[in-house]
Amino acid sequence: MTALLLRDLTLALRAGGGFGLSLAFFLIVTILVPFGVGPEGGTLGRIAPGILWVGALLACLLSLDRIFALDHEDGTLDLLATAPIPLETVTATKALAHWLTTGLPLTLAAPVLGVLLNLPVPGFFWLTLSLALGTPALSMIGAFGAALTVGLKRGGLLLSLLVLPLYIPTLIFGADCVRRGVEGLPTATPFLMLVGITLGSIAILPFAAAAAIRVNLR
């Protein structure tokens, strides 16, 4: 498992695109928003939690098809399926590698972009916390979607169609957590729901993803 994680991280680092592209996309989306809604600070501050969460979610979506597609093309997935580690561990590990190369950098970049959007001060803590705890769910759900579409020629668009509806609860609770944090309301409910979704995804989806990959390798 460590070997697979290290290999995926090395590959992401060497290929270059792994870290950079999603971050750059997140940055561009955030910069575009003020051009669209106007520079007025109050408006930006009010919509900042939602924009940052939607931006992070879309940036995460961009890199999903890389989770299994490359390994499928070059036969690694066949070999991993016959290797002594269970395929469930493989899917969970690859989701973890995706989070470390996408979700974690997005979480760390979000407060900086929050400044651009005039996010009120109490929001920074909740933004970072909710992204840190919510993006693992995005990676795991995305890995499941990637496993479903791994054998397909043009799986990218289909992957978005399958994954985006599954992202809705995470987005609702994540963004609401920040919004309530900004307004000084109690955040316990959305926060706990967000953590619950993340834990539930990590508990269940590796099995579903492994099942999908087994079907796709047949």
Binding site: L148, L158, L161, P165, I168, P169, T189, I204, A211, N216
Partner: protein, 242 residues
Amino acid sequence: MSIWEYANPKKFMQTSAWALPWVTGLAVVTLVAGLIWGFFFTPDDFRMGSTVKIIYIHVPAAIMATGTWFMMLAASLVWLIRRHHVSVLAAKAAAPIGTTMTLIGLFTGAIWGQPMWGTWWAWDPRLTAFLILFLFYLGYIALWEAIEDPDTAADLTSVLCLVGSVFAVISRYAVLFWNQGLHQGSSLSLDQEEHVADVYAWPLWVSIIGFGLLFVSLVLIRTRTEIRKRRLRALEARERMA
């Protein structure tokens, strides 16, 4: 005789060929009766006027929209556990019907909502939930269409249906939490005070039964088509091999 005998495609084709005219006929009679009763023989509502009558399409369509997903979930489970092809083909056949019912529910809702709430669309929990359900249907159908091998497609769509169901339920609660709505309460319920008056309820029940029968009839027709498509596929493949 066990119910699983109907999982045999041949047996299913025989039985459904016999049942189809009856179910379809009954569906037409019930629908016509329910809708005519509802549209022409019930009084206008004192607040909503005649717009209330769209309820005879709106509510049954909404019930069918969610019911179809449950039927697909059950059929997918049967496929994953017992590997009966008819079951998963019925799920495939039902998906576009569920999508259409969802759209009918959304559109009639918009038409009804405009004079009542003064807006075509509001991000009300129920409306939003149906919009999300619509997205789930789209994803399910798109996955079926994208995969060449029918058994692979059956397995993957079934897994998606299972996982999707869990997330659909979470979404329902997430949306409730996200926005308390302006939609009225349930139109029909057995234990609550707040529901429609009996004069509306009876034709509504008839309409719902009519929509249910229509659903069964359409699923039978579409499942028969899917089975024939599979057979055609097998025949063509054999031609190529020979």
